[in-house]
Symmetry: C2
Subunit: 346 residues, 2 copies
DNA sequence: ATGAAAGCGCTAACAA
DNA sequence: TTGTTAGCGCTTTCAT
């Protein structure tokens, strides 16, 4: 409510021009040959009057808002919220605020959110996109706003991106299951068939079978819509149990699916891994003490956030990024726990 | 990169004034008696030239940014990220963006973040504060920015707030444990002794004992610093096991603590609930399928987000809120699972 | 070494 | 029914 001190107040009470004050405040004093003494006087006055620059006015004038956007499918998914947290930390350190949006895998909503971010002139955008093609990014590309794709990539989109070795991870998981003697494996995935991470994981999964010369049927992959994950998996599992078509092992393609599978396998009193083994992509702390504990492919979440912000900040600052660092693929780990180990089951 | 169409472009190409265009765009055409026909011409031109108002310029001019702030201790804690998600949804529906900050329970950081939000002229602020006293909010109060306190409240602070019945919930939990025949109970809490939620929970816990006429010692409450939760609890539990001073039951005062307790009790091979029972405050989906499944006090997370946003929006819109709705306390539920049921343990 | 003045895009008194 | 003008607070070109 108290009226803000503006740059002209400082200037007036010092008997100098606004220009001078502005220059000093922005550290361009020396550059413009403003005497050390005047600079000091300005700085003291700034202190004394407790002047705080109006960031909105500045943003309006310069186009720099010190804000970055983060768009993911669901910020309440621990995978994304952990990444968000890292990004938020780095952003804060560097004087940036973070605006967060969840798309619910809705392509239109995502587009609207990107549009909003452009309208707000964010200095940069980090996005785990649900889009199908690079074309959807025309507006963003045209806007010239620095951006980094995380988690998922898009065909034909050569923006900076940070992802993990989905292929290798899934391959490890499948190999592990095969090596434990599980042969009839099914995977549960989210429905849209264009999400790069999911597809890479399916490819990696298949490749482990190919290596062993084992045929892979298409029905191996069961897709459930994002907004009906729980229900769909439930129905599938119940049906399988009913019909006696439960697989040897399930490979769950993200953390939600892993949890849901475990939940219903328990509900159905299907012993894990005695009857059905389970491996999930993306680790969560509590998989360590579920019943049974769950084997997973662990992603370097902190690193994803860190690299993404780095890459973004460099672009914002106009630092030339060597092409070799333009596209980052991070390694993943297989964490073997009870849910996928033979002979150890009940 | 393509230069934006501004309000003057529209005005010029239509041969009218900027004012006119502005009024029409903001739906004040009728109000100012602008002819229907002119209004139509303006609107068509807006379409034709694909004009998009510059939200920054508008915000600068009007002071309304269509942005709200959300400050919590840690956005990667599922409790907060779920609330954040709800708030984000409602915000999006109403044309607001959300800037999110995590404080790590750091009072200074929180103050700086509030300062930042004020500087950015957010239209409203939702905050789960780590502050000790209402005084820390002087700046915010002075700024006149609408705000809602969630989860935690502050003594002497009569801003709008949404919390849950922490006292009643904890009392339920303790009564439940007592009714199961557990007498020597310890609670683990986060360290700062001024967090209202934690204190209310401890009070509720005590009240259940008082009712039964059972003495409560002070050592019943073990506090661990926020940034060393895991380690501290680990040490305490190990020491207790070593010295044979493990309690009958543990009441964990938030979801992180619950998980950590379970993790180390398992690591120590202490049977739960056979040797030590466990009840946690704040439910998480996976507590349903941990080993053992964990009894908790479940908070109405969605409702917290909803009420908080409602209360904020009403303030922003200048809707007078009846004092009875100014301070909302939501009911909680006791979810009984394996970890706290006698005779059912191993 | 310092200042005057223009202007970013928009809204809102006040005129006409 | 429509237009003129001022100005939000800041940065920046161009003078001096």
């Amino acid at each position: 409510m108290s009226k803000k001190v503006s740059i002209s107040d400082i200037a007036r009470s010092l008997g100098v021009s606004k220009t001078l004050v502005s220059l000093v405040i922005n550290g361009k004093g020396d550059e413009h040959g403003i005497s050390r003494e005047t600079q000091k006087r300005v700085r003291e006055k700034v202190q004394e009057m407790n002047y705080q620059p109006d960031v909105l006015a500045r943003g309006f004038r310069t186009g720099k808002t010190n804000t970055i956007g983060l768009i993911v499918s669901d910020i309440s998914n621990l995978f994304y919220s952990r990444i968000a947290r890292r990004i938020e930390d780095y952003a804060w350190e560097h004087g940036y605020s973070v605006v967060i949006c969840s798309t619910d895998e809705d392509i239109r909503k995502e587009e609207a959110q990107i549009e909003m971010m452009i309208g707000r002139k964010v200095d940069g955008l980090i996005i785990s996109s649900s889009q199908k093609t690079a074309e959807s990014f025309n507006r963003l590309l045209k806007s010239g706003i620095p951006h980094v794709l995380i988690d998922r990539t898009l065909p034909g989109m050569n923006s900076a991106n940070v992802s993990v070795d989905n292929f290798g991870g899934a391959r490890m998981a499948a190999s592990h299951l095969l090596s434990q003697g599980y042969g009839r494996i099914k995977t549960f995935a989210v429905a849209p068939d264009h999400i790069s991470t999911i597809n890479e994981r399916i490819r990696g999964f298949r490749s482990a079978f190919d290596e062993k010369g084992i045929e892979v049927e298409d029905e191996m992959v069961i897709r459930a819509p994002f907004n009906a994950l729980d229900q769909t998996i439930r129905e599938q599992l119940y049906a399988m149990k009913e019909e006696g078509t439960l697989p040897d092992a399930i490979f769950a393609l993200n953390n939600s699916i892993t949890s849901i599978c475990l939940k219903y396998l328990r509900e159905l009193q299907v012993s894990v891994p005695g009857k059905v083994a389970l491996v999930g992509f993306d680790d969560m702390q509590h998989f360590d003490f579920t019943q049974p504990s769950v084997s997973t492919i662990k992603q370097p979440v902190d690193l994803i956030g860190r690299k993404a912000f780095d890459l973004l900040l460099q672009q914002i600052n106009g630092v030339p990024v060597p092409p070799s660092e333009w596209s980052v693929s991070l390694p993943v780990d297989l964490i073997v726990r009870e849910s996928s180990v033979r002979n150890n089951g009940q």
